[in-house]
Amino acid sequence: MNNKVLTVSPSPHVYENTTVRKLMYGVVIALLPTLAWSVMTFGIGAIIVTLVSVVSCILFEYLIQKFLLKRQPTISDGSALVTGLLLAFNVPANLPVGIIIIGALVSIGIGKMSFGGLGTNPFNPALVGRVFLLISFPAQMTSWPIPKGFNTGYVDAQTGATPLGLLQEKGEATVSQVMESAPSYSDLFYGQMSGSLGEMAGFVLIIGLIILLYLRIISWHIPVSIILSTGIFTGILWLADPTQYADPLFHILTGGLLLGAIFMATDYVSSPMVPKAMWIYGVGIGLLTVIIRVFGSYPEGVSFAILVMNAFVPLLNRYIKPRRFGEEVQDGQ
C-alpha cells in the first residue's frame, strides 16, 4: 500500500465546476432568445450578419494566435464566439458582408489580440469593432431595416429611422409630436422598430438578463445601475420639460441601452471587480449615455459611454476597495 505514488499539492483539493468555457457558453445561451427573436424580426439578414460576424471573429482569432502570436489557439474557450455574436447584435441586419468582416477584424485584432488576448483587453472588443464601423461607414451603419419578419430581406431591405433618430431630428417639433410617429411602448418592448440586429426587443434581452443572473454569470450591479441611472437622469429632464425631453421608459427601451447594460457593459475583462466600483461604472455609463443622446450630435450614445467608462476601470479597480472584514470603523460612525 505504501508503494502508491501520491499527488501532493496545497489546498484546496476540490473545485467548483466552473470553467471559462462554461461561463462563455452561458453568455451564448443568454444571447440565444435575442438571436431567435431577431431572426423572426429581420429574417434572412439577421442570419447572414450573425453567421459572418461569428465565423470571421473565430477565424481571425485562430489566424492571429496561430500565425502572428505563434501560440496555441484558444478559440474553443467561446470568447470569440461571444464577441462575434455581440458585434452582430450591434450592427444593422442589412450590413454588407465586407463591412462585417472588417468589423470582426478590428474587434478581434485591435480590440482583443493587440492587448494580449482574453483577459487583457481594456475595452469591450465588440464595441471597438462597432464604433470603428460607425465612424468609417456612417451611411451603412445607420441605415436600419424596417422589420417585416422573414420578408425583411437583406441588403435590399427597406430602411427607416430609429426612434432615437426621430427624436434627434425633431428640430422645432415637440416630443409629443415626434411620439405620434414613433413606435408604441409595446412595439419597443417587442422590437417592432428599426434598429441594430439585437438591440430592439426589450423582453428578449430581459430574458437574457434573467438567464445570466440565474447561471450566476454576472451580478446584478452593472445592469441595474445603468438602467436605473438612465431612468433617473432622463426622468429629471422629462419632469423639467416634458415637451422637450422624452420620458425615461422611452429612453430605456430604445437604442442599445438594454443590450449595452445587460451584455456589453458586463463584459468581464473590461468591467470593474468590486460592487461599489460597478455602481460608479454603471452610473457613469447611464450619465454619459443621456448626455450624448440628449445634448450630443449622435442620436445614440451607449457604445461611446461604455467605451469611455471601460477606460476608467483600471482606476476604479485600483482605488475602490471592497470593505474588508474587520476593517476599522471610519470616523462619524
Binding site: 502508491k4 467548483e16 470553467t19 468581464y268 479597480n317
Partner: protein, 453 residues
C-alpha cells in the same frame, strides 16, 4: 422540512462571501468506532502552535498510556503524552502532514495499560469541583489544543488577559469542511459529556453564556443538542445556514453575535472565546476523568473507500492503519489528505501519524487529484465575491507573483484566513491561494525583520 426561503430568513450566517462545495458527508451516519491498537505509534513532540515541547523520555523507557513524554515550554505550548503503553523505540525524525521531518517519540505498543489516576470508565461526572485556575492547570497538563485543526493550546484561550472582558463562549460545531463528520458524531454520541465540558469552559472563563453553532446540514445534531440544553442555563443551540467557511472563527462569531473581530485582532477583542466541540469533550475528559488528550475521533472517508468511518484513534497511529480499518486503500487513489478537502494537507506518505489536530483522512480518487491547467485571468471577479474577508485574491496573487510585498501588506494580505474559496471558485483554475500563502509568508518575514530592528 425547512424550505429554502424560510431557511434564508430563520438561519444565521456570516455576511461576506462564501462558497457551497458539495457536502459529501459519506460517513455522517456511521457511529464512532474504537480503532484497533496500532503496533507502533510515532508521536510528534510538537503538535501545537507555539514553542515545541521538550522530550522527557529516552530510548528503551517504559511508558503507559497517559504518561507525559514531552513537557510544555513556556506559556504558549503544550504537554505531549504517550497514547499507548509500551517501550520507546527511538526519538526520531518522522515525516508529518506538513511534509517535513519532525521529531517524534516512536513507541512500540505492548498491551494497553493506562497511567494511574485516569478514570477510563464511561460514568458521567456532572459535578464540577475545580476552580477556574485549577481548570486551566488541568487543561494545560492534559495537553489540550484546539481540535478543529488550528491546534492552538487551549489553556491559553482560557486565560483572559488583563483589560479584556469575555461575555460569551462559542462552541464551534459547524464542521463546514465537506466530507468531515467527526464533530457531527461527537455531538450526537457524546453530547452529555460535551455539555459538561462546555460548563467547565464557561467556569474557567467566568462567562454566563455559551452558544453552540451547528450548520443546518446536521439537523439530527441540532435537534439532539437543543433537547439536551433544555434546562441548562445560559446554553443555546443555533442552526446556521450551510455556507463555507462558516467554521472560521471570525465568520462564526459574526454569524452568531453579529460582532466583527477587528483586522489583526482576536475573538477576545469582541468579548468572545471560541472552542471546538471536540475540544469541549477533551476538556471534560481531562477535568472530570483526569484523562489527557491521547485519542480523538477521526473521520476516514473518500468516494472510493469501501467503509467510510468515524474512528476513535490513538494519537500517533499511522494513517495507513486508519485507511486499512476503512476497507483499505482503493485502487484509484490519487491523493490522501489530512483534514478536509478545502484546507487539509496532502500527505506524501501513509506513515504520517495522526496528531491532535487531525479531524479527518480523505482519500481522493486519481481523476480528482490533479489540478486543471490554468488559463489567463478573465477578471470575472468571482474570487472577490466569494472572499469571506473582503479581500481581492486576484490582486493579491498578482502582487505576490511580482514580489511587490509592501503593496501586498497594504492590501491586507495578512487578513487572509486561507479558506481556499478563491481557488475553489476560479474559472481559470488559477492557483490563487498558493501565491497568496507565499506572499503572506514573505510579508510576515518582513514584519518580523522590521520589529527586530
Amino acid at each position: 422540512m425547512i424550505t429554502k426561503i424560510q431557511e434564508a430568513k430563520v438561519l444565521r450566517t456570516f455576511s461576506k462571501g462564501g462558497v457551497h462545495p458539495a457536502e459529501q458527508k459519506l460517513s455522517a451516519d456511521k457511529a464512532i468506532e474504537k480503532a484497533g491498537l496500532p503496533k507502533q505509534v510515532s508521536i510528534p513532540i510538537a503538535q501545537h502552535i507555539g514553542a515545541p515541547s521538550t522530550p522527557v523520555v529516552k530510548k528503551k523507557d517504559q511508558v503507559k498510556a497517559g504518561d507525559v513524554i514531552a513537557q510544555s515550554q513556556g506559556f504558549v505550548s503544550s504537554n505531549i503524552h504517550s497514547s499507548v503503553s509500551g517501550t520507546v523505540a527511538k526519538i526520531d525524525q518522522v515525516i508529518d502532514a506538513s511534509g517535513f521531518r519532525k521529531p517524534c517519540a516512536v513507541i512500540n505498543v505492548e498491551g494497553d495499560e493506562w497511567a494511574d489516576g485516569i478514570d477510563t470508565s464511561a460514568d458521567l461526572i456532572r459535578d464540577i469541583t475545580l476552580s477556574a485556575e485549577e481548570i486551566r492547570q488541568k487543561v494545560l497538563e492534559a495537553g489540550i489544543v484546539g481540535m478543529g485543526g488550528a491546534t492552538f493550546p487551549s489553556h491559553v484561550k482560557l486565560s483572559v488577559p488583563e483589560g479584556k472582558e469575555v461575555d460569551t463562549l462559542i462552541i464551534n460545531g459547524v464542521e463546514c469542511e465537506p466530507y468531515l463528520t467527526s464533530d457531527h458524531r461527537v455531538m450526537l454520541e457524546r453530547a452529555e459529556e460535551m455539555l459538561v465540558g462546555i460548563r467547565i469552559l464557561m467556569r474557567a472563563l467566568g462567562v454566563e453564556k455559551a452558544l453552540i453553532g451547528v450548520e443546518h446540514n446536521k439537523p439530527d445534531a441540532i435537534a439532539h443538542l437543543k433537547n439536551m440544553v433544555e434546562g441548562e442555563e445560559g446554553m443555546e443551540v443555533y442552526g446556521l445556514k450551510v455556507k463555507y467557511p462558516q467554521g472560521g472563527e471570525k465568520q462564526l462569531i459574526q454569524a452568531l453575535l453579529d460582532r466583527e473581530v477587528p483586522s489583526g485582532g482576536l475573538p477576545l477583542d469582541v468579548g468572545v472565546v471560541v472552542h471546538n466541540v471536540g475540544t469541549a469533550l477533551a476538556v471534560y475528559e481531562a477535568v472530570q476523568k483526569n484523562k489527557p488528550l491521547i485519542e480523538r475521533v477521526v473521520t476516514v472517508t473518500g468516494k472510493s473507500l469501501a467503509k467510510p468511518a468515524n474512528l476513535l484513534v490513538r494519537i500517533g497511529t499511522p494513517v495507513k492503519d486508519l485507511i486499512e480499518a476503512a476497507g483499505g486503500l482503493p485502487e484509484d487513489t490519487g491523493k490522501v489528505v489530512s483534514g478536509g478537502p478545502m484546507m487539509g494537507k496532502a500527505l506524501q506518505t501513509l506513515d504520517v501519524p495522526v496528531v491532535k489536530g487531525t479531524s479527518g483522512i480523505l482519500v481522493i480518487p486519481e481523476k480528482e487529484a490533479k489540478r486543471t491547467p490554468e488559463m489567463h485571468c478573465i477578471r470575472c471577479s468571482r474570487c472577490v465575491t466569494v472572499c469571506p474577508m473582503g479581500l481581492e485574491p486576484y490582486l493579491l496573487k498578482q502582487l505576490a507573483q511580482q514580489e511587490r510585498y509592501e503593496e501586498l501588506e497594504e492590501q491586507s494580505v495578512l487578513d487572509c484566513i486561507e479558506c481556499g474559496s478563491c481557488s475553489f471558485t476560479c474559472p481559470a483554475h488559477l492557483p490563487l491561494l498558493d501565491y497568496i500563502r507565499l506572499g503572506k509568508s514573505h510579508v510576515n518575514q518582513i514584519i518580523r525583520n522590521r520589529k527586530s530592528k
